[in-house]
Subunit: 209 residues, 2 copies
DNA sequence: CTTTACTTGCTTGTCGGTAACAAGTAACCT
DNA sequence: AGGTTACTTGTTACCGACAAGCAAGTAAAG
């Protein structure tokens, strides 16, 4: 029982969900500000309004926390992608994915930056965020491969292509463009690249029929 | 004068050049083994056969050391690129660059890995290796743009393209493919991608004439 | 050639800061 | 109330960075 004039009196689950969200939010801000290496668990906890130790306690380790942040961001991206692509297949789906990504980067550039910072961090043979990055990329490559396979089945895509190689190149283009955009933003104009990338896709992959 | 039976008696310059090389070499091995975060300056110094403090003393900071490593690797890559591309321009130069990169990755996969690890590390707003990565990417994009401009001048490349956008996409494809290869090596087959990437380039950029 | 003053390569001592864990406290639950 | 769960504080080990010192090399004077 809570005394009349006291605090909201949340349930335990609500309390932890609240602090989790606050810390992930704080982590995002700090990541953008100071990068992965410059972000400390203590700073995250305190910025979220708690003690220096909570982040470690809740997420176990720095890698664990970054994994949680990555999952949150990834989830938002996949929602946008799904909404844009819908049930399309073949080259249409790939073009829609390009549009979705452009939209995502424009609407939530912070999310895009964070995702890229975290996935870059996954470079070495260390980290737990490595496995998240691997899963995400693998998933995206296989999605594209499925689009292509369906496109071949329905006759909209040439049947003499190497599906896996094309899928990897497609994902690689987007990953690479984001990477460059993060480092050399003035050189990377997503909107300008969209047109030629889509046209190139159609020229290269669409069936002659 | 050195006593007959005594040690090699190197000059100061030779001594420091020797330890520099030893430490950069040690740093490369540790980077491949433990990643950027897992590599410590003390371990580098000791692995190179010196004290825990030498790496810091010589390179000033961890970022400074990584910068030196990056420069060494970058230098080797640029040599391969220059040898393969030569005086070619336009689409020919870009195809040669693809071949050069495939050759580089096959001949010195460790170098490719290290470069990618370091350039990934440059994601956040921190680090000194960030500026090296930026310079390198900027340089590569402008090289490709020059190839394209020359190709338009000599008539081998369509004149209705957006040079900068195409150059960025080209570099982005390679950067992204390497990034994926580092994380998901089994999905990325450089040799399979070479053929279709080059064909796509020619289809998309070569002038109709 | 030898001595001496100086420079440069390298090592050791140390400090602030951080991740990770453990033990304790306070809030919620039954 | 007792017990479970959310959170805090105390502590340890480790790392990057710096600074003071030591030793190896260099060069000028006698």
């Amino acid at each position: 029982m809570t005394k009349p004039g006291s605090a909201p009196s949340l349930t335990q689950a609500e309390r932890s969900a609240l602090s989790d969200r606050a810390m992930i939010e704080a982590a995002c801000e700090l990541l953008l500000e100071k990068g992965a290496g410059g972000t400390t668990l203590a700073a995250i906890g305190e910025k979220a309004g708690y003690s220096r130790g909570l982040a470690t306690y809740r997420f176990g380790s720095k890698a664990g926390l970054f994994k949680a942040v990555g999952k949150a961001v990834s989830h938002r991206w996949l929602a946008v992608l799904q909404a844009e692509v819908g049930e399309q297949t073949g080259v249409d789906a790939m073009c829609a994915a390009i549009d979705a990504y452009a939209k995502f980067v424009q609407a939530s550039p912070d999310d895009a930056r964070i995702q890229q910072i975290l996935f870059s961090e996954a470079g070495g043979p260390e980290s737990e965020s490595r496995s998240l990055a691997i899963d995400t990329y693998r998933r995206q490559i296989s999605d594209v491969a499925t689009w292509l396979a369906d496109g071949i089945d329905t006759g909209s895509v040439r049947d003499d292509i190497d599906i896996d190689a094309e899928a990897v190149q497609f994902v690689a283009s987007i990953v690479g463009a984001t990477h460059l955009w993060l480092l050399v933003p003035d050189h990377v104009r997503f909107d300008a690249m969209r047109r030629s990338a889509k046209q190139r896709l159609r020229n290269h992959l669409a069936s002659a029929a």
